[in-house]
């Protein structure tokens, strides 16, 4: 059965072109123009993905995420206006899975949808056993041996660099906020130590041989966090 996608936006033209684009990909699409209808549909129709605009007329988008997270683990892609970085971070920390900035390109949105759907299927298959290795392009991470290879050449990472890489790999394609990463790597105490995280990421990028104008693995979402490239 085709996956069902719920689109929530108060702008009619945006809803209509999103609906057309999504249906053209072979998914089913329902839409809502306000937060309460969105909550109702999300619970009653149980869609695979929720695409949520944060600026809604009735309920604040972040409230919608919080309410929804109490009852459901449905993946949420948020859409926010440019310049509202705090709002984005808040939404991601509240449990949203990904974000796009308005105006966004449709291919970009469809790519994010595909990533989420693929991860969902993967999760369903390997729900019992933890994945042993990640392969992203020329990068291979062996979580059992704690070793990392880049085009069959082993690269030496510090424990923190390795932890960050594995964390990003486990959430491949998903934006992880600075706070989320820092909490997972340094523990709660040092979660605001953004400086050491920046340095750690810088070293990791150098070891992965990233081209600063066209990163192959780690995508920097400035002011928000990092994401590991997908597909």
């Amino acid at each position: 059965m085709e996956p069902l996608i719920l689109v929530v936006d108060d702008e009619k033209s945006i809803r209509s072109f999103l609906r057309i684009s999504i249906e053209m990909q072979g998914y089913k699409c329902i839409d809502a123009s306000d937060g309460s209808t969105a909550l109702m549909l999300a619970i009653s129709r149980n869609p695979e993905i929720l695409i949520l605009d944060l600026g809604l007329p009735d309920i604040d988008g972040i409230e919608v995420i919080k309410k929804l997270r109490m009852v459901s683990q449905i993946p949420i892609i948020i859409i926010s206006a440019r310049g509202h970085e705090r709002e984005k971070i808040e939404a991601l920390d509240a449990g949203a899975d990904d974000y796009l900035t308005k105006p966004f390109s449709v291919p970009e949105l469809l790519a994010r949808i595909r990533v989420i759907l693929r991860h969902k299927t993967l999760q369903d298959i390997t729900v019992e056993q933890e994945s042993q290795a990640f392969r992203i392009r020329d990068l291979l991470i062996d979580t059992e041996k704690h070793r990392v290879w880049l085009t069959d050449q082993e690269i030496k990472l510090t424990p923190n660099e390795y932890k960050v890489l594995v964390l990003l790999a486990k959430n491949q394609g998903k934006v992880l906020t600075h706070r989320y990463i820092a909490e997972n790597i340094y523990g709660g105490m040092l979660s605001n130590d953004t400086q050491s995280l920046r340095v750690c990421m810088g070293n990791l990028r150098r070891k992965l041989g990233e081209d600063p104008s066209k990163p192959q693995y780690i995508i920097t979402e400035i002011g928000v966090g990092y994401r590991l490239v997908d597909e």
């Binding site: 440019r82 150098r206 600063p212 104008s213 400035i222």
Partner: protein, 524 residues
């Protein structure tokens, strides 16, 4: 005339610093003893000289003259009517005792001598009084001169003050030096906040009573404190700093010793207060004038901005409307290929409009002072990468590279704004250089500066234009074709953002052709 008289009257108390503090009893007794010994010495000397004259049988009147000289010199030294009276009496008695028959006796045989004594006494007394008066008058003139010159010096010093702090500091120091007193000056603005304050001798003003007195002066506008009816127990005397519009501040003065402030001292302080008021009013006027100028400047900028925005909007809008209407009206006549091209152009124009709106939003936020820098420790290279990723979507056939150092450079900036700067610079480079051009963003450190550089090998900017590119609503006029891509707003926004970060931005030409825009931000 009146004022002068007042000063003359109170001269003793104000002109000389030492006289402003009253002498105590011990000092007075010391002076009397000293004067009596001087009197005895002078009279002994006179008698000795007279004895000599007497023995060589000199003319008797010379002896009288010697005594008169003694009276005169003593009066000059002693400066007091009582002293000159005493000296005159002494001299007459000595003359009588030693040099009139019968000798060594106060009796007088010849009644003519009575007249001599009387005249001698009168002459001695009157001339000595005149001497004292002359001396005192000279002293007065000197003191007045000193008074005027010190007012002049204070006035001159106050002319140079730049702000309220300087004003209160200089006036307080001068008054304090003059009266050997602790001084406090406090200035307020319209809403009653303290805008300038200087205190010399903290202890003299810190009591509860003194604070109340100070407040009372500010509220009522009349002096109070030490030596007055209101708050007479306070340590200091407080005088308001008044202008036509009300109380601008309070001046407190606490004399050393326990003496009350004298009328003349108040008069002196009032002269200084008048100067303080003049300076404050002058400053207020200046500020108002500046405000008006700034407002006018802003108004003009706003008008310019509206004009420029309308222009910048109209061009892509005209494109969108034209393309859409052509495609709609001739839908069946044009090929799929052309339709696709039309749609792509519409998309590009809309994308351009979007970029424009972003810049306008940021610019207005900056102008209204609403943009608070959201500073965070960021890796400079991440900002560059984010900017390049952003423009790569519409970079077309331009090649955008980044050159970053091995070192990870951390800077405390608002990453979103700095990215906007680099995006604007890259968009400029893309718009003004032909397809296939190379655009290089480099990052390096020079001392405590972190330098970002965007370099292209396009046609560059005309030499005459280089100085104006950062002016708002400036359009590069290298060629007519690219005119529509006006980025005046973008570059002026870049400048505002970099300057808000304490950095600088500059543009120069690349060799053999092209443009280099460099900006730096300081690391801590």
């Amino acid at each position: 005339m009146k004022i002068e008289k007042k000063y003359t009257l109170d001269k003793e108390s104000i002109y000389v610093d030492h006289s402003s503090s009253p002498m105590n009893k011990g000092q007075a007794t010391d002076k009397i003893i000293k004067m009596i010994s001087i009197l005895i010495l002078i009279m002994l000397l006179c008698t000795a000289v007279s004895m000599l004259f007497f023995h060589i049988r000199m003319f008797e009147s010379n002896i009288v003259m010697i005594y008169l000289l003694g009276i005169l010199s003593f009066s000059y030294l002693a400066e007091g009517y009582i002293y000159s009276l005493a000296a005159s009496v002494c001299a007459v008695l000595l003359y009588n005792f030693f040099f009139t028959e019968p000798y060594y006796n106060l009796k007088v045989n010849n009644p003519d001598y009575i007249i001599t004594f009387f005249v001698m006494f009168i002459v001695g007394f009157i001339t000595s009084m005149l001497t004292i008066k002359v001396k005192k008058e000279r002293q007065q003139v000197e003191d007045r001169e000193q008074y005027i010159s010190s007012l002049y010096i204070i006035g001159k010093k106050l002319l140079d003050v730049k702000n309220e702090e300087d004003l209160v500091r200089i006036s307080a120091q001068e008054i304090s030096q003059r009266f050997d007193a602790d001084v406090m000056i406090q200035l307020y603005n319209e809403s009653g906040e303290i805008i300038g304050r200087y205190i010399k001798g903290e202890d003299s003003f810190d009591g509860e009573l003194d604070r109340s007195a100070c407040l009372e002066v500010y509220q009522s506008g009349s002096p109070c404190g030490h030596g007055t009816i209101l708050f007479g127990e306070a340590k200091a005397y407080y005088q308001p700093i008044m202008s036509m519009s009300g109380v601008l501040g309070v001046l407190g003065i606490a004399l050393s010793g326990t003496g009350n402030i004298l009328h003349t001292q108040v008069a002196f302080i009032e002269v200084i207060i008048a100067q303080i008021v003049v300076i404050m009013e002058r400053q207020k006027l200046n500020e108002n004038q500046k405000k008006v100028q700034l407002e006018m400047h802003k108004e003009r900028l706003r008008a310019d901005m509206l004009r420029s925005i309308s222009h910048d909007f109209r061009t892509p809008l005209a494109g969108i409307m034209g393309l859409a209407s052509t495609a709609k009206d001739n839908y069946d006549k044009i090929s799929d290929e052309v339709r696709k091209n039309f749609l792509q152009s519409i998309y590009d124009d809309a994308d351009w409009l979007n970029e424009l709106v972003e810049n306008i939003l940021q610019t207005t936020r900056f102008e209204e002072g609403r943009t608070k820098l959201n500073l965070d420790e960021e890796a400079a290279e991440e900002i560059i990468t984010a900017a390049i990723t952003h423009v790569n979507k519409h970079a077309g056939n331009h090649f955008v590279y980044a050159v970053i150092p091995d070192e990870i450079i951390l800077i405390k900036v608002d990453a979103i704004l700095i990215r906007q700067v680099i995006v604007n610079l890259l968009n400029n480079a893309i718009n003004y250089s032909p397809s296939g051009s190379e655009i290089v963003v480099s990052l390096y450190r020079d001392g405590n500066k972190v330098i970002f550089e965007v370099r292209d090998n396009g046609p560059g900017i005309l030499r005459d234009e280089l100085d104006y590119v950062f002016e708002r609503y400036h359009h590069n006029r290298t060629s007519k074709e690219t005119y529509r891509k006006g980025m005046g707003l973008g570059l002026s926004l870049c400048k505002s953002i970099i300057e808000a970060h304490g950095g600088k931005i500059a543009v120069s030409n690349n060799e053999p052709h092209g443009t280099i825009v460099k900006f730096y931000i300081f690391t801590e």
